[in-house]
């Protein structure tokens, strides 16, 4: 049975539509992602899933129960890692877990054992008696995830689990999340980091302005929309008469490039002063064709295709724009 089923799920706040009739299903034991820029409606969707925000219309069932009808039952089987850490600053590290366990009516002895295991798992065991505000950003995040696991949840919801963390801290969180996945925990995460989405998610939806634009597995989506590689051409300033100048002075550069390489491409996309070319098979030949042109570009780059390209293609905008 699917862990989450959403049908025509809609959320309005004060007359504004934040989520527009989306459909999705999260399967047992998978890591499912919501990828999209800020304001896409990811957090709103997540808030409905963990019964914080009431659903405006549509149907939403979590673990087989309707969110409107059984919020306490649903929440007792969820782990929630909110976007903003809301650890209890009045309590110490271990106490944070123990007090949280009380909200799930977990017997004290069980809670203590589980809390110690979790602190161990998240490399926080030696900080058990520290005040929460003494922890680094990465540690707070790990503690928040540990807290979400205190009730052995069937589904863990992570709203932007690594936003604001430095790369090292982010990788540590990813490692732990991968291990949770190996243990069979169903994960749902929102992110605007495409790397996070491609590293962790089995399947994801791309969300923008309250709608789901695409759904699939990360590699599949990239292969479907973009291909294997991307040639990125910088058109900020180009050179055609011996010095770099605005692209417009050299005529319609975009048309020139596309005309010259079209037979090698499966598509292209112009965003701002960059032109993205999607080679049909071999990126190197496209690169060579461009290098043979009488024009030089501010940059020319052949790189592997990513989810960001998919997002750009679907929305015409960057993820962090």
């Amino acid at each position: 049975m699917d862990v989450i089923v959403a049908e025509k799920l809609t959320k309005e706040y004060n007359g504004k539509v934040a989520v527009r009739g989306i459909d999705f299903r999260v399967r047992h034991r998978e890591c499912f992602g919501f990828l999209g820029p800020n304001g896409a409606g990811k957090t709103t969707t997540v808030n409905m899933i963990y019964c914080l925000s009431p659903v405006t219309s549509g149907r939403l069932t979590v673990l087989g129960m309707e969110v409107q009808k059984k919020p306490r039952e649903i929440k007792s089987r969820l782990g929630v890692v909110p976007q903003e850490n809301n650890l209890d600053p009045d309590l110490k590290v271990l106490q944070n877990l123990l007090v949280y366990a009380n909200y799930f009516r977990i017997p004290t002895a069980t809670a203590r054992t589980r809390a110690m295991e979790l602190l161990e798992f998240f490399d926080l065991a030696d900080r058990a008696d520290d005040r929460v505000d003494r922890l680094s950003g990465g540690m707070k995040r790990r503690l928040t995830i540990a807290r979400a696991l205190i009730n052995n949840p069937d589904l863990v919801i992570l709203d932007e689990p690594t936003t604001g963390l430095d790369p090292q801290a982010r990788h540590l969180v990813w490692q732990r999340l991968r291990r949770l996945k190996e243990r069979g925990v169903t994960l749902l995460l929102t992110t605007h980091y495409l790397e996070e989405a491609s590293q962790l998610c089995d399947r994801l939806v791309i969300m923008d302005r309250g709608e789901i634009l695409e759904e699939g597995d990360p590699q599949g989506l990239v292969a479907k929309h973009i291909g294997r590689e991307v040639v990125e051409v910088g058109l900020g300033r180009v050179e055609c008469t011996g010095q770099f100048q605005p692209a417009a002075d050299c005529g319609d550069t975009t048309a020139m490039i596309v005309g010259r390489t079209n037979h090698l491409l499966r598509g292209h996309l112009a965003v701002g002063d960059s032109l993205f070319l999607f080679p049909r098979d071999n990126g190197q030949t496209v690169l060579q064709a461009l290098q043979g042109m009488p024009v030089r570009f501010s940059h020319l780059l052949l790189r592997p295709a990513t989810l960001e390209d998919v997002f750009l293609k679907l929305t015409g905008r960057g993820l962090r724009a």
Partner: protein, 256 residues
């Protein structure tokens, strides 16, 4: 309006507040303890020396039970304005709680009960102090803590209404200067209301603190009479009428 959704988890939320309280009760308690003692010293002993007996009592004996009531009410009001607001808005503790089986109503009711706890505790501490000073005249004073619980619950509800209406930490000053201070001054803590113009007496009768003061003073001095039932009934009735309001207002702030 949505019906009340309260479960035994209220106790777990209250327990969290008590754990936090047990960690810093010394600083907390001594601060709230100090102010009533200043009033007892300055007004009871200092000013009292120049004041004629009130209702047949030396001023200190008249004043002391009133301060038990007022310090209890202030303790609750601080907790359910500043304390509640910090937990909700700055610490986001409410959001962490409602992500568990705890409901928002559980959280709000636990806030009110914690405010009530503070009233009982702080009032009782002052009661013990005035007992030590020989200002408690009757074993009826044993009933003061339950009275403080009823009054504290009402003040917790009133404070949470303000917090729900004006969720902005700067505006809590207005609550204290526009509501709490007038209540403190015109509820019979410092002088009997019978000497005031009729209109102010009527207004004062509407003050919840006035009834808590009547009850506490009656019990402390052993002047227990049937009219005290009306004071008690007034507190209970007002509480029952107002209780749904903080729930409605606070839900609105957290659940969007």
């Amino acid at each position: 309006m949505k019906s009340l959704d309260v479960s035994p988890l209220v106790w777990q939320v209250l327990r969290r507040h008590l754990i936090v309280f047990s960690r810093n009760w010394k600083t907390n308690l001594s601060f709230n303890f100090f102010e009533p003692l200043l009033y007892i010293a300055a007004l009871g002993l200092g000013l009292g020396a120049y004041v004629q007996p009130m209702e047949g009592l030396p001023y200190l004996n008249y004043l002391a039970p009133g301060l038990v009531a007022s310090s209890a009410m202030f303790a609750t009001s601080y907790e359910c304005t500043y304390g509640t607001f910090v937990r909700m808005e700055y610490q986001k503790t409410f959001y962490a709680m409602v992500a568990t089986p705890v409901s928002i109503d559980d959280v709000i009711v636990a806030e009110i009960l914690y405010g009530t706890f503070k009233s009982v505790l702080y009032g009782s501490v002052i009661l013990v102090v005035i007992l030590a000073l020989g200002l408690v005249a009757s074993p009826w004073a044993l009933l003061v803590p339950p009275v403080l619980a009823v009054g504290g619950f009402l003040f917790a509800v009133l404070s949470m209404i303000w917090t729900g209406l004006v969720p902005n930490i700067e505006n809590f000053n207005y609550f204290f200067s526009l509501i709490m201070t007038p209540l403190f001054l015109f509820s019979g803590v410092f002088f009997p209301l019978s000497g005031l113009p009729r209109i102010i007496q009527t207004l004062a009768w509407a003050s919840p603190l006035c009834h808590v003061v009547n009850l506490v003073r009656g019990l402390v001095l052993g002047r227990v009479h049937a009219a005290l039932i009306w004071d008690f009934m007034w507190l209970v009735t007002l509480t029952a009428v107002l209780f749904p309001l903080p729930l409605y207002l606070m839900r609105r702030l957290v659940i969007k």
